[in-house]
C-alpha cells in the first residue's frame, strides 16, 4: 500500500525536487542526507521529502549532466558520494528558477482575486 503512495509522490515532486536539489547544491557539494535535510530545513519543514525518492532524482540529474559526484569516506567510515553542481547544471538552475518564478507569479495572480472574494 505504501508502494502506491510513494509512487504518486515521486511523480508529484519530480520537476520540483530536481529544482530544489540543484538549488541546494549551488551552496556547495553535499551528500544525499545533507541535501534532504537542507531541503526540509530550508523550507522550514513544510516540504517533507520522502528521502528514498531523492536518489532516483540525483541519478536523473547525473544522467543529464547537471550534477556530478565524487566518492569519499564519510565520518562514520562508510562510502558516501558528494554531489556537486556542474556548469551545465548552474545554467539549468537559472533557467528553471526563472521559469518557476514566472509560474508561481502566474498562479498567485489567479489565486489572489479568489481569496479576496471570500
Amino acid at each position: 500500500m505504501s508502494t502506491k503512495r510513494s509512487r504518486e509522490r515521486v511523480e508529484l515532486l519530480q520537476g520540483t525536487l530536481d529544482l530544489l536539489i540543484l538549488r541546494v547544491l549551488r551552496l556547495g557539494p553535499a551528500h544525499g542526507h545533507a541535501i534532504a535535510k537542507a531541503i526540509e530545513r530550508g523550507s522550514e519543514d513544510v516540504l517533507q521529502v520522502e528521502q528514498g525518492s531523492l536518489y532516483p532524482a540525483l541519478h536523473r540529474l547525473i544522467k543529464r549532466g547537471w550534477i556530478t559526484f565524487e566518492g569519499g569516506a564519510s565520518e562514520n567510515n562508510r562510502q558516501a558520494k558528494f554531489y556537486r553542481l556542474t556548469a551545465k547544471g548552474r545554467k539549468q538552475l537559472d533557467v528553471e528558477t526563472s521559469r518557476w518564478d514566472r509560474l508561481a507569479a502566474a498562479i498567485a495572480r489567479i489565486l489572489r482575486p479568489a481569496a479576496q472574494e471570500r
Binding site: S6, H31, H59, K63, N76, R78, Q79
Partner: protein, 862 residues
C-alpha cells in the same frame, strides 16, 4: 568503467549511510534508539523501491531485469517440470504443424520463382474449353515472339522423356526442350561449361544432380557426347544445384511429374501448312511498364491477322489465355493450401486455449506468491512483466521444438509425394519461416499469458494472503469452462472437415467388383528415336512383350493400353453425315484406347452389351459414356465406326461400363477401345498392364529384363502397381486428407486434455465440498453423475458451437470434396457422437476420482 556503473556503485552503502545519519539526528532530538531508527526508515520510505527506481534511471536496467526475469522464469518452470513440459509439448505440436503448413505455403505461394523479375513472367496459351491445359503451335509462337512489342523475351518449351544409354545400362531422364531465349529468361548460369550458342542445336545442359549421378567425379563431362533416344547430343554445361525448371505445364498426360534433368535447346518450326504440328507451352517476360492488357491486345491483333491470312476453323475456336506464370503454376493448389492454413490455425487456437486454461489453474495457486511479491514492493507492472516473461520462455521453447517438428513434418510430406503440389520440393525453412515461428511464439505467449494476468491483475495482496489456499473466484472457473468448450468446438470443426475428406476418399476408392488395381503392374513404354520410325516395329514390340511376359510365372493376364496418349474429336458413325472439324472441336475430345484382347480380364471390365474383341479383329468396344454421347439412343452393336479420319472401319461388338482407371477424382472420359494392331500409324507410347497372382511389384525386375532382352535401348517408365498410380492421381487430395487427419487428431487430443483438465481441477478444488456431501450421505454415484454432468455441459456447449461453425466453414471446402456434400448429415452425426463419447470418457476419469474421495481425510486437511 561506465558512468552508470560508477554512479550506482556503493548505492547500498550510501543509502545505509543516509539512514544511519537520519537515525543519529533523531537520537540527537531525544528519541530512543529504536524509535529513532523506525522513524528514519519511515522518512526514507521503501528502500528496495528507491534502489530499483534509482537503477531504472539508467536504461540498461530494463535488460538486466529482463535477464533476471528469464532466470527466474526458468527456475519457476524447473520447479514445476510437468506443467512446463505439457505446455511446451502442446505448443510445439501446434507451432510445428503451423510452421510445416506455412513453409509449404511459403514455397508454393509466397516465394517468387527463382527466375529474375519473375513478377513480369506471363503464361500464354490458347484453350478451347475451360480447364484445359492449352496449346500453342510453332508458327503461332514465332509470330508472337517476332511481332509483339510488350515482351522482353518469349520462350517456347516442351518436355521429352529420353532413354539414355550408358555403359552402366539404359535409364530414363526428363528433358526440357527450350528455345534459345530460355537462358536469358531463367537467368541460368552454368557452374561448369557454357550455355548453348544462338542457333546451336544438339547441345544439352545437365542438372547438377544428374551430372553427379551419371558422371560422379568425372572432370571431363563437358564436351562429352551422349546418346538420347538414339540421337547424339553434346554436354556443354552443368547448371547449379539450386537451379530448377519452374515453368508451368505438365509434361504430357499420363506421365508422372519428375524433376527435369536435361536442358536441350531446340528450334521451333515457323512454317504454317501441312506437316506435324508442334504443340508448345509459351512463357514471356513483359517489358517494364507493359501491362497484361496491352500484351493481350497485341497478341489478339496478331492472331486476327494470322486468321485472315491462314483461315483455319480450329484456331478460331481457341481462346487466348494470358496469366501470370505464378498463378498458372499454382492453379487450384493455392486454395487447398489456404484451407490447410486456415485449418491448422485452429490447432493453434486450441493449443492456446488449453495452455491458457492450464495457466489459469496454476494462477490460483500462484496468487499467494504474487501477493507476497507485491506486498514487499513489486509494482503491478513488474509482476505483469514477470508473468509475461514466463509465458514467453515457454512459448519460445515450444517454438524451437515446433521448428524441429515442422522439419520432420515437411520431410514426411515430401516422402509421401514430392510432386503432389508444384514446387513442393522447394519447401525449406528459410528466413521467412523462422520469422513466422518467432512471431507465432510471441503471439501465443501473449494469447495464453494474458489470461492469467487478467485474473491476477485484480489480486489484492491482503485478501490473497488472508485466504491463503482458498479456491479461486467463480468468475475464473467460468472463463475456464468457456475455454474448454471453445476447444471442443474447434476440434469438432476440424474433425468434421477431416471426416468429409475421408468420406470423399472413400467414394473415390469405391472400385467396382472385378477391378483389382492392387494386383496390376503398370509400366509406360515410349518409342523414341530412329529405331521405331516404321509403325510395324512398335506394334511388333508390343506383341512380343505381351507374349513373353505372359509366360512368366505369377502372371495371369497381360495387355497394353494407350489410355491417355491418343485423343480424338469423336467417332464417325457409318451412315451419319461426316462432321466438320468445327463440330468435333466444340466438345471435349474422346479417348482412343489401342489395346488388346487381354484388357477386359486385366481391368475386370464389365460388359453391358455384346462381347470384347479378339486381337487382330476389325472391331471396337465403347464405354457407356461414349455410347451415350455418340450413339444418341441407337443400338451401337453391329454399327461401323471410324475413330480417326483416315483409319479403317471398325465394327462395334460391345459396350462396357465406365471404369475410372487413371484419374480417381474425375468421372471416366468417353472412351473407345480398339485392337492395337489396327492402329496403322503405330504406337508412340503405351502402358503395359500385367495382372499378377499376388504382388505386382515383385514382377517389376522380370518386366525390365524381358524388355531389355527384346530391345536393350528400351527402359520402362513409371513402373508401379496400378493401385499406386491411382493413389498418385489424387496426390494433392491425399496430401490434404493426411494433413487434415493429423490436425484433427492433434486437436482432439489437446481438446480432450482440456476437458479432462478442467474437470480434474474442479474436482481437486471441490474436494472439501464433495467431502461434505459424502459425509452428509451422498452416494458415490451421485458424486459421479454430478461431476460428469458438469463436464458434459461444457462438452454440449462446445459441440453445439462446433456444429454451427462446421456448417458455416465446410462450405469453403467444397472444391476439396468429391461426391460428398459439405453438410453431409451422416459425417456430422457420426463424428459429433464420437467426440461426445470421447469427452464423456474424459469426464469419467476425474468423476471416479471424486467418487473415491475419503470424506474423513479431506475434511481433516482443510
Amino acid at each position: 568503467m561506465l558512468r552508470h556503473e560508477r554512479a550506482l556503485r556503493g548505492l547500498d552503502e550510501e543509502i545505509h549511510d543516509h539512514i544511519e545519519r537520519e537515525t543519529r539526528d533523531n537520537i540527537d532530538r531525544g528519541l530512543s534508539p529504536d524509535e529513532a531508527r523506525r522513524q528514519a526508515m519511515v522518512t526514507f520510505g521503501n528502500v528496495a523501491l528507491a534502489k530499483e527506481d534509482t537503477r531504472s534511471v539508467w536504461a540498461w536496467v530494463w535488460a538486466e531485469q529482463f535477464l533476471q526475469d528469464v532466470r527466474y522464469a526458468l527456475r519457476t518452470h524447473l520447479g514445476n517440470p510437468a506443467f512446463a513440459l505439457v505446455v511446451i509439448l502442446t505448443l510445439a505440436v501446434a507451432i510445428g504443424m503451423n510452421t510445416a503448413v506455412f513453409s509449404m505455403f511459403n514455397a508454393v505461394v509466397l516465394r517468387p520463382l527463382g527466375y529474375p523479375n519473375a513478377e513480369r513472367l506471363v503464361w500464354l496459351s490458347t484453350i478451347s474449353h475451360e480447364g484445359e491445359q492449352g496449346i500453342v503451335t510453332g508458327p503461332d509462337f514465332t509470330d508472337w515472339r517476332n511481332q509483339a512489342g510488350s515482351f522482353e523475351q518469349m520462350v517456347a518449351y516442351g518436355y521429352s522423356d529420353y532413354t539414355f544409354v550408358s555403359p552402366r545400362g539404359a535409364s530414363r531422364v526428363r528433358a526440357a526442350r527450350v528455345t534459345e531465349d530460355f537462358w536469358n529468361l531463367s537467368g541460368a548460369k552454368p557452374v561448369a561449361g557454357r550455355l548453348p550458342l544462338r542457333e546451336e542445336l544438339g547441345a544439352v545442359l545437365l542438372s547438377s544432380s544428374l551430372a553427379d549421378r551419371w558422371f560422379a567425379g568425372d572432370p571431363d563431362v563437358i564436351g562429352r557426347t551422349v546418346t538420347l533416344d538414339g540421337r547424339q547430343a553434346t554436354i556443354v554445361g552443368i547448371l547449379p544445384q539450386h537451379f530448377r525448371f519452374q515453368l508451368p505445364g505438365s509434361p504430357f498426360p499420363g506421365f508422372r511429374p519428375r524433376d527435369v534433368d536435361v536442358y536441350q535447346q531446340v528450334r521451333v518450326s515457323s512454317q504454317r501448312g501441312n506437316g506435324p504440328v508442334q504443340l508448345l507451352s509459351v512463357v514471356g517476360r513483359l517489358k517494364v511498364g507493359a501491362t497484361l492488357e496491352r500484351a493481350r491486345a497485341e497478341i489478339e491483333a496478331i492472331r486476327a491477322r494470322v486468321a485472315q491470312a491462314y483461315p483455319s476453323p480450329l484456331n478460331d475456336q481457341r481462346v487466348l489465355r494470358i496469366v501470370n506464370v505464378h498463378d498458372q503454376l499454382i492453379g487450384r493448389t493455392g486454395l487447398a493450401l489456404r484451407v490447410l492454413l486456415g485449418a491448422v490455425v485452429f490447432v493453434l487456437l486450441i493449443a492456446c486455449a488449453n495452455v491458457a486454461n492450464l495457466h489459469l489453474a496454476r494462477a490460483s495457486v500462484r496468487t499467494r506468491e504474487i501477493a507476497v511479491r507485491m506486498s514487499v514492493g513489486a509494482s503491478r507492472g513488474r509482476v505483469l512483466r514477470q508473468l509475461l516473461v514466463e509465458s514467453l520462455v515457454l512459448a519460445l521453447l515450444g517454438g524451437a521444438a515446433g521448428l524441429l517438428i515442422a522439419r520432420l513434418g515437411v520431410a514426411a510430406i515430401l516422402r509421401i509425394d514430392r510432386y503432389a503440389i508444384p514446387r513442393l520440393t522447394e519447401a525449406t525453412l528459410d528466413g521467412r519461416v523462422l520469422a513466422f515461428v518467432v512471431g507465432m511464439s510471441l503471439l501465443t505467449a501473449l494469447a495464453f499469458g494474458l489470461a492469467p494476468i487478467f485474473t491476477l491483475w485484480k489480486t489484492d495482496p491482503h485478501e490473497a494472503l488472508k485466504n491463503a489456499n482458498r479456491a479461486m473466484s467463480p468468475g475464473t472457473s467460468s472463463v475456464r469452462a468457456v475455454l474448454a468448450a471453445a476447444e471442443v468446438a474447434l476440434a469438432l470443426i476440424l474433425l468434421i472437415g477431416a471426416g468429409l475428406m475421408a468420406k470423399s476418399a472413400y467414394r473415390m476408392y469405391d472400385y467396382t467388383p472385378g477391378f483389382e488395381p492392387e494386383r496390376v503392374l503398370t509400366a509406360k513404354v515410349v518409342f523414341g528415336g530412329p529405331g521405331y520410325a516404321n509403325p510395324q516395329q512398335s506394334l511388333a514390340f508390343a506383341t512380343t512383350l505381351m507374349d513373353r511376359v505372359r509366360r512368366e510365372p505369377g502372371v495371369e493376364a497381360t495387355s497394353i493400353s494407350t489410355h491417355g496418349f491418343m485423343l480424338s474429336g469423336g467417332v464417325d458413325v457409318e451412315g451419319d453425315p461426316v462432321r466438320t472439324p468445327e463440330e468435333l472441336g466444340q466438345r471435349p475430345p474422346i479417348l482412343v484406347n489401342a489395346t488388346s484382347a487381354g484388357l477386359k480380364r486385366v481391368m475386370g471390365l464389365h460388359l453391358l452389351r455384346g462381347r470384347w474383341f479378339t486381337d487382330g479383329e476389325a472391331a471396337a468396344v465403347l464405354n457407356d459414356s461414349l455410347a451415350r454421347r455418340e450413339m444418341s439412343g441407337r443400338d451401337p452393336i453391329g454399327r461401323r465406326i471410324k475413330v480417326t479420319e483416315t483409319g479403317p472401319w471398325l465394327t462395334i461388338v460391345g459396350v462396357v461400363a465406365d471404369l475410372k482407371y487413371s484419374q480417381l477424382d474425375a468421372p471416366a472420359d468417353p472412351e473407345v477401345y480398339v485392337p492395337y494392331t489396327r492402329i496403322e500409324n503405330g504406337l508412340f507410347a503405351f502402358t503395359a498392364l500385367i495382372l499378377t497372382a499376388n504382388d505386382p511389384i515383385s514382377l517389376a525386375p522380370t518386366l525390365r529384363k524381358v524388355m531389355s532382352d527384346i530391345d536393350n535401348t528400351q527402359v520402362p517408365d513409371d513402373v508401379m502397381s496400378l493401385e499406386q498410380g491411382l493413389a498418385e492421381s489424387i496426390a494433392p487430395r491425399r496430401l490434404n486428407l493426411f494433413m487434415f487427419t493429423t490436425f484433427a487428431a492433434a486437436a482432439i487430443f489437446v481438446a480432450m486434455i482440456g476437458v479432462y483438465g478442467i474437470m480434474a481441477y474442479s474436482v481437486s478444488q471441490r474436494g472439501y465440498e464433495i467431502g461434505i456431501r459424502m459425509a452428509l450421505g451422498a452416494q458415490r454415484r451421485n458424486v459421479v453423475s454430478m461431476v460428469v454432468s458438469q463436464g458434459m455441459q461444457v462438452t454440449f456447449a462446445g459441440i453445439t458451437a462446433g456444429v454451427a461453425g462446421a456448417l458455416a466453414l465446410t462450405q469453403f471446402m467444397k472444391s476439396l470434396l468429391y461426391e460428398v456434400q459439405p453438410s453431409d448429415p451422416l459425417t456430422f452425426a457420426v463424428l459429433t457422437i464420437g467426440l461426445g463419447t470421447t469427452a464423456f470418457v474424459a469426464c469419467c476419469i476425474p468423476a471416479l476420482q471424486a467418487a473415491f474421495i475419503d470424506p474423513a481425510v479431506t475434511l481433516r486437511c482443510e
